[in-house]
């Protein structure tokens, strides 16, 4: 079964090429069949891989699962092969990517149905390109091809954010996302250089798979540097502080894009990267602290920033950033399987929330401002229930999927705090709790203001979306409800499956007592419910509470701490000014001016010298006589010495 793995790349690539070249000539139904069909086939392969792997239990077997090996470049003694690797981590990632991807592709048939045929084909072509690049990122067996996929998903994201290319805001957002992603590529590249310098290879088997002898020495400078650079990459891709500024803007893309790329899959690539290279982080304690701080700060920052947004998709964007923060927090204490578990459940419920938000936007003819919504509960029942289920899962309410995974992370942090007697980790746990409270608050503020109360603006023909859109929503609704049961503290099938890929950290993790787990569950549940209760108090009964407010705290949060203008003023503008300065002072004045100056001097010299060419024989005779005297004189002086 594993030998079919290359098809995971071939199918989406074929879809991209066919639709990209000929999509404009094909009828809509063929385009959607090809676009979704290739992802469906890829999903079948991913499913097969998932079950085929079940029997392999040891980390040592992973390398034998490398599927194809092809020498991409050989320069001197440096070999750069291309290969695919299926292990338990990549199998789960591929299930999420192709599974959720498939649902969103189907959803897009409905959502994008009003686009022109050319744009419709372009959309599916780019979506397939994204799945291809994401699969490459996940399946690569070397850091180099991870980087190729890494940059490739950035390209797909760029193309899809700017899909509506006539909107200046969409195009600006696309550029911003791409440039910040390049910062991440830069970090990953430098990490790669350090690794290739150390190990002379970039294959996982020669670098991060611990049984191959290429050990990262604990606390060594290079190891720490590699880990920190990987964090730069992860922060840029997964929208963590301070490289998060592109994600809220990326909501300019069509909603299926937000659901697939900017919620369910691409933004989780950073989480995958850290999980994949957990060996490095285990040996880089400083980087682990940075990881914890980054995750915690991002989770809290994003949750607070989501509190007062008006744009329905921006709330969800900040929510994504916040949940990714949870995943990184989990990874910082070595709970990689909990983080990946949360990645998976988050993909379910966040894709569901985005689809539901898309349903609202679709029904309201493109309106995204929550201030103009309200009272939609009866008119959009499926969308409403999707939001309720997604919101409960996001807020971590039992028994929905997000509850189990968020709980796994929080209890792992608490357990580690107890084992290590670390104040910092207790603080991290508290940050997690506060964020859980805020999560319940902001998501139910959204739900109550959009669906409850009275409509605040008139919209004609408000109607529930059609089957291609509701079917994926219903499937995700089920998954967001029951998807967490595979990883309960009572029977954790999920981390048992993932164990071969994460063996090492599991051994590090001290015995996690059941009592701790139950205590953590109850506390987290309580704060989540408290958040929802507060949302109900504030917005449930009088949802029109959108008065303009001059409270400085409100302003700070509503503007996401003003980080966007701050970065623009502190980084982007100075760089541009530097460029302007270089161009004027050095380029135009010094270099160009200098060369013109030389030309002027030569010109002046030759004009001056020309005066001596008078044409009179007597002048020349005088000059000759003068020269003769000088020469004779020089001889006499020389002789007399």
């Amino acid at each position: 079964m594993l030998t079919l793995t290359p098809l995971l790349l071939v199918f989406p690539l074929a879809g991209f090429v066919i639709l990209g070249l000929f999509g404009r000539l094909l009828p809509r139904v063929v385009v959607s069949t090809i676009g979704c069909g290739v992802i469906f086939l890829a999903f079948l392969v991913a499913l097969g891989n998932f079950f085929a792997l079940g029997s392999a239990t040891s980390a040592g077997q992973m390398v034998s699962n490398e599927q194809i090996q092809w020498n991409w470049v050989t320069a001197g003694g440096l070999q750069i092969p291309f290969g695919l690797l299926v292990d338990h981590l990549s199998a789960i990632m591929m299930l999420v990517v192709t599974g959720v991807g498939l649902l969103i592709h189907v959803y897009s048939i409905g959502y994008m149905s009003e686009e022109r045929p050319v744009a419709f084909a372009r959309f599916f072509s780019f979506m397939n390109l994204f799945i291809f690049m994401m699969s490459l990122l996940v399946l690569a067996n070397t850091f180099l091809f991870l980087l190729v996929g890494w940059a490739g998903v950035g390209l797909a994201s760029f193309l899809l954010i700017g899909f509506w290319y006539t909107r200046p805001s969409a195009v600006a957002a696309a550029q911003k996302a791409f440039v910040i992603n390049v910062i991440g590529d830069f970090g990953l590249m430098l990490a790669i250089f350090l690794m290739v310098g150390k190990f002379n290879t970039l294959n996982y088997s020669g670098t991060i798979f611990p049984h191959n002898g290429a050990a990262f020495s604990a606390g060594e400078m290079t190891t720490t540097a590699i880990a920190l650079l990987l964090l730069v990459a992860a922060a840029a891709k997964s929208a963590q502080l301070p490289l998060h500024v592109w994600l809220p803007d990326a909501m300019e893309g069509p909603t299926p894009v937000s659901a697939l790329i900017h919620a369910a899959t691409m933004v989780t690539a950073g989480v995958y990267l850290v999980a994949r290279s957990h060996v490095i982080f285990e040996n880089a304690p400083i980087a682990t602290i940075v990881l914890a701080v980054m995750g915690g700060a991002s989770a809290f920052y994003a949750a607070t920033s989501a509190l007062f947004q008006y744009d329905i998709k921006r709330v969800l964007a900040y929510s994504t950033m916040s949940q990714l923060g949870y995943m990184f927090m989990g990874e910082s204490v070595g709970a990689d399987s909990a983080a990946i578990f949360h990645l998976m459940t988050h993909a379910f419920f966040k894709a569901l929330l985005f689809m539901a938000a898309g349903g609202v936007i679709h029904a309201l003819h493109g309106e995204q401002d929550m201030r103009k919504m309200g009272g939609l509960r009866s008119r959009l029942p499926i969308t409403y229930w999707s939001f309720i289920v997604g919101g409960l899962a996001l807020a971590g309410i039992i028994p929905f999927a997000g509850f189990w995974s968020k709980d796994a992370i929080l209890s792992a942090i608490l357990a580690q705090a107890q084992t290590q007697q670390s104040v910092g980790l207790y603080v991290l746990w508290l940050v997690g709790l506060v964020t859980a409270f805020l999560t319940g608050l902001y998501i139910f503020r959204l739900i109550f203001t959009v669906f409850h109360g009275e409509p605040r603006a008139r919209f004609d023909h408000v109607h529930e979306v059609g089957t291609p859109m509701t079917a994926p929503m219903v499937i995700l609704l089920v998954l967001a409800t029951v998807g967490g049961f595979i990883g309960t503290p009572f029977a954790d099938a999920f981390s048992a499956y993932l164990k071969p890929a994460t063996t090492v950290f599991q051994d590090h993790l001290g015995g996690q007592s059941f009592a701790t787990e139950i205590a953590a569950i109850l506390v987290a549940l309580a704060v989540g419910l408290a958040g929802i209760a507060l949302a109900w108090r504030r917005y449930g009964r009088q949802p029109a509470l959108f008065t303009t407010n001059t409270n400085p705290v409100y302003l700070l949060l509503a503007h996401a701490y003003y980080l966007d203008p701050l970065f623009n003023a502190a980084i982007a503008q100075p760089v541009l000014m530097l460029g302007r300065g270089l161009n004027t002072v050095i380029e135009r004045w010094t270099l160009d001016g200098g060369s013109l100056g030389v030309a002027h001097v030569v010109n002046w010299l030759s004009r001056s010298l020309r005066r001596t060419e008078t044409g009179y024989a007597r002048n020349y005779a005088l000059a000759i006589a003068f020269g003769a005297i000088v020469i004779v004189g020089a001889y006499i002086v020389a002789m007399s010495r």
């Binding site: 020498n71 991409w72 470049v73 050989t74 320069a75 001197g76 003694g77 440096l78 180099l144 980087l147 190729v148 940059a151 490739g152 390209l155 700017g162 290319y165 006539t166 909107r167 200046p168 195009v171 600006a172 696309a174 550029q175 791409f178 440039v179 390049v182 910062i183 590529d185 830069f186 590249m189 430098l190 790669i192 250089f193 350090l194 290739v196 310098g197 002379n200 760089v575 541009l576 530097l578 460029g579 302007r580 270089l582 161009n583 050095i586 380029e587 270099l591 160009d592 060369s595 030309a599």
Partner: protein, 527 residues
């Protein structure tokens, strides 16, 4: 044996002669046929050694090039001094891929100039003579012959800019010529010094590449009482000419002017192959003939390369003219070649694998930048033909009218900013990997520049092609098939090299391996 190299060099000139006597109306076709045939023949340079049976090793190196043609030319002696100049052409891997690139770009330049209506016949003839000059540079295997072809290329280039250029064409043409001649004067001094020093030292006078590469000048020169290592002086004299061509900061200011004023096809050739003459000379002549001098100069070279990269990008950030922006991006991208070469010759006790990776990256960057920048200039040319404007801010939303052009432009920009899967990434990645071992600080500066590059290129794309359509351009038509043809062909090359760089690497390996071995035999500075 059929003199393939001689044919490649002079077939375009014959084409130019046929043009002058042929019917005036057919000049485009004649030029296209001659350059097309040259291109097809040039492919045999690559295929020939492969089918010859010796595999990829058969491309040979400077010592044993796969292709070689030699006729004695000037031989006379005065006392013990001898002047021996041979008509000696040769091509190993490093030459072959530049010869093919030149043949391809010249052919595409002629196709892309189909719309030129002002004195078409002379224009086409000059393009063909330019092709001859550049071909000669890339396959001369005698140092004097090399210099001769180096100068031959100047004349058509000067005329092409000065006659068919933009508003400030004469200024740009003169600037180009004066800068180049300034450099080549030093280069000639270097050539003569090298030739006679080596002759006096070994008793045998020859300017053939294999002789110069296998015998190295020793000792020091004394000038005005200042003593300088012979090889370092030779390196600097020779390199000055190449540095101007590359162009290396601070000798680059001719390039933005020349690019801005030159007609489209000439810009394509200028960026595509003429700059590569400097890079080729650096690798083939400076490094091969004065390896110790090169090593002594490696650190300054790496610093200059890094400055080139970030300075070019910094200037690109604020350009308003499309061609000028691309010209400065060329300055930036050619910095990778300098950095790669510096890393390959650097003084550190580096793993030879990294040296070879850096040099391979530099060479691939020569090819990649030629193809990618060629695409960018073709795109701007198509736009300029229709809009008669290159001011980025004056456009907007062209996607609505020109989707084909926009997509291929987007592709070229992605290739230029080093997107993995396209050729630029292979080059940059190999350069970085190699140079990080020798020059980490410079490499980090270069890598930071990736961010700026993405910034300015996407800004241009966003400003001109995306966003709402500026109604002023509602009349523009999309690129037609003739305009798309060169773009698509180059695009295929860029994608192919990006996905399967192996074929270029195999082609280059024997040539570059020879250089790495020479560098490996030099003493390593104790650090």
């Amino acid at each position: 044996m059929f003199p393939l190299l001689t044919t490649l060099v002079f077939l375009p000139t014959i084409g130019a002669l046929v043009l002058m006597v042929g019917p005036k109306g057919a000049s485009r076709w004649i030029a296209a046929i001659f350059s097309g045939v040259t291109f097809v023949l040039s492919l045999w340079l690559y295929i020939g050694p492969l089918v010859g049976g010796s595999g990829t090793a058969g491309f040979g190196s400077i010592m044993h090039p796969a292709w070689s043609e030699s006729i004695p030319w000037v031989h006379f002696a005065i006392g013990t001094l001898q002047l021996n100049i041979d008509y000696h052409l040769g091509a190993d891997g490093l030459s072959i891929f530049m010869l093919i690139l030149n043949a391809l770009l010249s052919f595409l330049a002629i196709i892309g100039s189909w719309h030129v209506s002002n004195r078409t016949r002379e224009y086409m003839a000059l393009l063909l003579i330019l092709e001859t000059g550049v071909m000669g540079v890339f396959c001369a295997f005698d140092l004097y012959l090399f210099w001769l072809f180096w100068e031959v290329e100047l004349i058509p280039m000067f005329l092409l800019i000065a006659i068919w250029g933009g508003q400030r064409r004469e200024y740009a043409a003169w600037k180009f010529v004066i800068y180049t001649i300034f450099g080549s004067a030093f280069m000639l001094a270097g050539i003569i010094l090298l030739y006679f020093s080596l002759g006096a030292q070994n008793g045998a006078y020859s300017a053939s590449f294999s002789y110069l590469a296998s015998h190295q000048v020793a000792g020091t020169y004394s000038i005005f009482g200042i003593s300088i290592a012979s090889q370092l002086l030779l390196f600097l004299l020779l390199y000055l000419g190449f540095a101007i061509k590359l162009p290396m900061i601070p000798f680059h200011t001719w390039l933005p002017d020349a690019h801005t004023e030159a007609p489209t096809a000439v810009s394509v050739l200028l960026a595509g192959v003429l700059l590569k003459m400097g890079a080729y000379g650096l690798i083939r002549i400076c490094v091969d003939f004065a390896p110790q001098g090169a090593r002594d100069f490696a650190l300054p070279l790496a610093v200059l390369g890094a400055i080139n990269i970030i300075y070019g990008a910094g200037c690109s950030l604020v350009q308003r003219d499309m061609k000028k922006l691309i010209a400065y991006s060329s300055v930036s991208h050619m910095g990778y070649v300098i950095l790669g070469v510096a890393a390959a010759i650097g003084p550190g006790a580096t793993n030879p694998a990294f040296r070879e990776a850096a040099l391979t990256g530099a060479a691939i960057q020569m090819f990649s930048h030629g193809a990618v920048t060629g695409m960018l200039f073709f795109c701007v040319g198509v736009l300029y033909e229709k809009a008669h404007l290159r001011e980025i801010n004056a456009f907007g939303g062209l996607m609505a009218r020109m989707p084909r052009l926009t997509w291929i432009y987007t592709f070229a920009i992605m290739a230029s900013l080093g997107l993995p899967g396209l050729s630029g990434f292979v080059a940059e990645y190999l350069v970085y990997t190699g140079s990080f071992a020798n020059f980490p600080a410079q490499t980090i500066i270069a890598a930071v520049t990736m961010i700026l590059t993405a910034g300015y290129l996407l800004w241009m794309l966003k400003r001109a092609f995306y966003g709402p359509l500026n109604p002023r351009w509602a009349h523009l038509n999309d690129a037609n098939l003739l305009e798309m043809a060169p773009l698509v062909m180059l695009g295929v090359v860029v994608l192919f090299v990006g996905v399967y760089p192996g074929f270029l690497v195999d082609l280059l390996r024997p040539s570059l391996h020879q250089i790495i071995q020479t560098m490996g035999s030099l003493p390593v500075a104790g650090r």
